[in-house]
Symmetry: C2
Subunit: 341 residues, 2 copies
DNA sequence: CCTCATTCTTTTCGCGCGTAAAGTATTTTG
DNA sequence: CAAAATACTTTACGCGCGAAAAGAATGAGG
């Protein structure tokens, strides 16, 4: 590494013996220059640690290599996990991902999209808040910036939507629960944060009816993203009120189930499938902590990997040329049997 | 809102009736222009939705309004929570925070710092990986960029370090446990991710000796950031080996405790302080999920709020002028009594 | 060896803003 | 009300790069 500091591309071009426009071309796409010049540039890169000024680059390029990754609630490890997955794929594809969380607040989601617009991103991967999202703001954003929605759909918006086949989730777990014990009732939030909850409820109802059972839905009051607390508080209330007519409770999602397990514990109910157990509890998502609840939570695993891969692929396919029609890709869940049901 | 699009500051200055340099000054600091001109500019801002090009701004300013926020492992909701807190405070102070997670990988931590340097940040709030961090890389980074360390200290680096008084944590919980039952043994990772664990062990030993008890430390094998799994796997092994000589286990942190609770459950041990319970378990941190374990986890709450506030204040104080000596601020924890101990 | 397509160099312009200097207008001070 | 201080305008330049055009060098194919 030479000691002389390189101040700009002009100087770097000089020491590498290549003209500045060609060097510029190299940084834009190393494969676009001849093999021999590429080697000369990379030899110079070894000796001097020059990197193009990112602000000057982005100012003049119509399209940057920035990618926005927006999730609704980073404190939920599910979103942290999928964000990490998506982030890594963007880096591998040569882009610069930037992570944002709306922290459950619609106004913050709008602010993030507003701020993102200034970054002239090549594309955005957006997991919206859902019900609370400002549809018109997102619609406007999608018109300006290539955006792929994931996790939570907003009908008709974005280049594509990548998510889970929620009705299949419920079908799978209902089938399992009915096969191994009493038909489940369904525990959910009255006003769920996102549309996946509705699809799961419908999936539950359909699966129950197909098996000849009467669906039974228990709804919890409460707004916001503090699902565990809602599951615990309202679960306890429903238990006390004798609201559950079977010994099997299917929760709309794992976080609700985690709170409900706490309610069961505090109510003195032993959870599990053993003969000495009073109640079976199942969730949906395979939340990172589901393995560690007591008892470990039986659930349906989201295909994190397929969803993040598909979302990233879909975005870059659109960004790098091929404009296809809006597509919706839903991935199936996988039954994860643990002790709770 | 007028329909004519404003393309740049020149045009915006024209429609607001103010010269461009003055408008530029306004955007740099609205308080630096006369009240009357400020009103004229803000009146124009109402009519046209112009915003300065962020790339052009940052290119020419010696110091940007960017702030980097780096945490070691975003999938841990503790860090997600503190990141959210820090992020909001930066926004309130008029800065642009950008969130990064090293995802437990030292090479990624280095990459993040490298990428951050390009953003010419006004400052960086860094919670390092700890033991696995590349000290020399961080040292070099701190020389170039005003950096405040938090959560995990790296001796002597950064403008300041803001964290928890870990020995006090252990003292507090040891006192409580001894007061209410058998003296605890200490369950920790053999090669902990960060130095806080060492301080907690030392705090445990000191507190035990002060009370006239013999310290007993049980160490778990395993590397990395998958604390729950290590707590569960190695906790189960230690239980099976009869490694615990008392019925009270103090875990080095809540995530380890969460895994250990699972091990207890799977081993058929009833956890809690009732007469029918076989073991008491306590953690440290007040992890967001500690409230929802079964039984709910007794722990020491970190003062999230004070830590994030203090870290942000310390950074901006340094950035905005006053260069003080490196200071270390440690906040005390608060005992949170729940059912597990 | 010649032809033609690539690939490179040279030159020039522009992006949108920060910044500085010098002059003019406005406000404050005594 | 004059002098001084402050705030503004005008003009000009620079930041580091992208992009485009025209000509020179290079290399492949016949």
């Amino acid at each position: 590494m030479s000691s002389t500091k390189i101040r700009n591309m002009e100087e770097f071009a000089a020491v590498s013996g290549i003209s500045r426009p060609t060097v510029s071309k190299y940084f834009h796409d190393p494969g676009s220059v001849r093999q021999s010049t590429r080697q000369r540039i990379e030899a110079a890169l070894e000796r001097y640690d020059y990197r193009p000024n990112i602000f000057a680059m982005n100012q003049n390029r119509k399209l940057t290599k920035n990618v926005g990754v927006v999730v609704p609630y980073m404190v939920d490890p599910f979103f942290a996990e999928i964000a990490r997955n998506v982030e890594q794929r963007c880096i591998d594809a040569g882009y610069r991902p930037t992570l944002f969380s709306a922290h459950g607040e619609p106004s913050l989601e709008n602010d993030i999209l507003d701020g993102l617009r200034q970054l002239k991103p090549a594309g955005v991967l957006l997991a919206p808040l859902g019900r609370a999202s400002d549809r018109s703001a997102i619609e406007k954003f999608c018109r300006d910036v290539p955006t792929v929605l994931f996790d939570s759909e907003i009908q008709g918006l974005g280049l594509s939507f990548i998510g889970s086949d929620n009705p299949q989730f419920s079908r799978l777990i209902v089938d399992y629960l009915c096969r191994t014990g009493a038909p489940p009732c369904f525990f959910e939030m009255k006003t769920p944060a996102n549309p996946n909850a509705n699809k799961r409820r419908q999936g539950y109802i359909a699966a129950m009816e197909r098996l000849g059972h009467a669906p039974d839905i228990v709804q919890a009051d409460g707004e916001g993203w503090d699902f565990e607390e809602i599951g615990r508080r309202e679960g306890a209330r429903a238990l006390a009120a004798g609201r559950f007519t079977t010994d099997t409770v299917l929760c709309s999602n794992d976080r609700l189930a985690i709170g409900f397990l706490t309610a069961c514990y505090e109510g003195g109910l032993r959870v599990g499938r053993g003969p000495d157990c009073a109640i079976r509890v199942a969730g949906q998502d395979d939340h990172p902590f589901a393995r560690y609840t007591c008892p470990p939570l039986t659930t349906i695993a989201q295909d994190y990997d397929a969803i993040s891969r598909s979302a990233v692929e879909s975005l870059f396919a659109a960004v790098e040329g091929s404009t296809r029609a809006r597509e919706v890709r839903l991935f199936e869940g996988r039954l994860v049997m643990r002790e709770s049901a």
